[in-house]
């Protein structure tokens, strides 16, 4: 049973002498990556937690001011490395909003499929890792095996299994082909039984439930006030999903539900993630059968995408165009304005605030990282719970250090 918050939230208690301090991280198996907590404990009970972050701050936003819109995609990839392509989608969604580009239907569908595959990618790891931290190793292996298959799919499309750098302004790197479609179909077929197995392993597992139910409760009011989005907010009963609210890509065309739960605790977050995976599979199933034909990149005459290779090799116009796009002092016209665009990444609302200054580099590329905002609520969630719940709460927040610190 969770303790009543009033028992410990008394501010004087935090200064009393019998309390002791525990340093957790920055190198700790349950943090998965690098974050540090300084916990104040009363026996086993956590009365205060001070997160220290920045152990992976590598200057992403500064780099964004020095790389052009297509180059920076390799960097945003490395931001939330659990679901790399989801970041690319968000970045290029915003860039295309800034430039006023409408991508082709085929591209929309392919990007949507990738977006949903990345959601699976993220949720699988999260579910596996939560289970691993709570002592269930098997679920982790099951999840990772499926992740390997998603790796294969993105490797097939882009040539890199992990950081695919797949999207480009106005299109994607390579078009997909039938073999790829077949691969995705096969994955979808094989995923469902594994998902069911994961369910059997965890959802009604007594130990798992005891460790997660009622732990780290987040009320809907707090969720709003603390800017929480994504599966975390939905687990607290907030019906918000950018895929429905501000439909982007091809999400308008598909039939899917927003998964919500009432509990707001770690278990609800787990359930929401598990259920979202099924919704994602549903979207992929619908999308993969209906990929529109036609070009995947927008028309090459706009000076934004590279022309097709035959045109480059066989015609002087194509060649000129190729270099127009690639040369550092040329490139496409960029408005002198700023724009905020956001997509629903697996972790929540991932937004970019881009200031264009007329060059092909952004003047400022601000990321609105969901992990950063979610980690800020950690002290609020953990207060009053016991030390062993720290890993359960941390796991359910799904903090990705590179996105946290950028």
């Amino acid at each position: 049973m969770p303790l009543e918050l009033s028992e410990v939230s008394d501010p004087i208690a935090a200064d009393q002498e019998y309390l002791w301090t525990l340093n957790f991280g920055p190198q700790h198996p349950a943090t998965h990556t690098t974050l540090r907590l300084v916990l104040t404990l009363d026996g086993e009970k956590v009365v205060g937690a001070v997160p220290h972050i920045g152990y992976l701050h590598s200057g992403f936003e500064k780099l964004g001011e020095h790389l052009d819109f297509n180059q920076y995609v390799t960097i945003v990839d490395r931001m939330n490395y659990i679901s790399p392509i989801a970041n690319e989608l968000s970045w290029h969604h915003t860039v295309e909003k800034l430039l006023g580009i409408e991508i082709t239907p085929r591209c929309k569908y392919v990007r949507t499929i990738f977006g949903e595959l990345m959601r699976l990618h993220d949720h699988l790891l999260n579910v596996g890792a939560v289970a691993l931290d709570l002592g269930a190793f098997t679920a982790f292996l099951y999840a990772f095996q499926q992740r390997e298959k998603i790796y294969d799919i993105s490797e097939y499309a882009s040539g890199q299994r992990f950081h695919s750098s797949y999207t480009r302004v106005g299109g994607v790197l390579f078009d997909v082909n039938n073999d790829w479609v077949e691969k995705v179909r096969k994955f979808v077929r094989e995923f469902k039984p594994v998902h069911a197995e994961l369910h059997r392993l965890l959802t009604r597992n007594r130990i798992f439930i005891d460790r997660t139910k009622g732990i780290g409760v987040l009320t809907p009011e707090d969720a709003n006030n603390m800017s929480v989005t994504g599966p975390l907010a939905r687990a607290s009963g907030i019906v918000r999903d950018l895929r429905k609210d501000e439909p982007y890509l091809a999400y308008k065309d598909f039939d899917f539900k927003i998964v919500c739960a009432r509990g707001g605790d770690c278990y609800s977050r787990y359930v929401v993630r598990m259920q979202e995976m099924l919704e994602s599979i549903k979207i992929i199933e619908q999308a993969i059968e209906n990929i529109p034909a036609g070009p995947i990149n927008i028309d090459a005459v706009t000076d934004i995408t590279l022309p097709a290779k035959p045109a480059v090799y066989r015609s002087i116009e194509g060649l000129i165009q190729h270099f127009e796009v690639l040369m550092p002092n040329r490139g496409f016209p960029v408005p002198l304005d700023e724009v905020y665009g956001a997509t629903e990444s697996p972790n929540g609302e991932l937004g970019f605030y881009i200031v264009g200054d007329g060059t092909v580099r952004s003047y400022r590329a601000r990321t609105r990282p969901p992990s950063y905002i979610h980690f800020a609520i950690f002290p609020h969630l953990i207060r009053g719970h016991s030390l062993s719940d720290v890993v359960a709460v941390l796991g359910s927040l799904n903090i990705i250090a590179a996105e946290l610190d950028r």
Partner: protein
């Protein structure tokens, strides 16, 4: 989109005409002078139901063409019921770049303000715990300012070297 316009119009009747508005694509922005920032944000939250603060960020306009102010602090607001978005831009200038903190309004602003402070050196008066968050405490400059080079001043290599024999 119509709603955003009425919001801005109401804001102007409430706070006077120094508030200017602009928009681009689907973003609506209102420019607010720093003295009025807190009032405007409070009004927006309490009267207009902007109950979620999506993000706080800042932009350094040092090298931007035709810029008149050094920084703009940018508040991205969202109304969770109507799903309306509004961007509030507040200009800030050196030497004493400071704004009132909005942590009392939105608890989520805590870390966002700390990040802006860390990266740009803009103070938020009334913030409960304004410390550096991403950079080490010993750091003295503000890396996202435009006069700080991408590769730094060599702070990154200012550490002792461990050799085999020593360790």
């Amino acid at each position: 989109m119509v709603e955003a316009n009425t919001t801005v119009a109401d804001l102007r009747t409430q706070f006077g005409n120094e508030l200017t508005e602009s928009s681009f694509r689907d973003n609506h922005r209102v420019h607010v002078p720093p003295e009025k920032a807190l009032d405007v944000l409070t009004w927006l939250k309490e009267q207009r139901g902007f109950d979620m603060l999506v993000d706080i960020t800042a932009v350094d306009y040092l090298e931007y063409p035709d810029a008149t102010d050094r920084f703009h602090v940018i508040y991205l607001l969202l109304n969770m019921t109507t799903k309306e978005r509004l961007i509030v831009k507040v200009p800030v200038n050196l030497p004493d770049a400071a704004l009132p903190s909005v942590v009392p309004l939105w608890k989520g602003a805590d870390w966002m303000e700390r990040e802006v402070y860390d990266m740009f050196g803009i103070d938020f008066i009334g913030h409960p715990d304004l410390r550096r968050i991403l950079m080490p405490e010993e750091f003295t400059t503000f890396p996202l300012r435009k006069d700080y080079p991408l590769k730094g001043f060599g702070e990154r290599h200012n550490f002792p070297v461990l050799t085999r024999a020593e360790s």
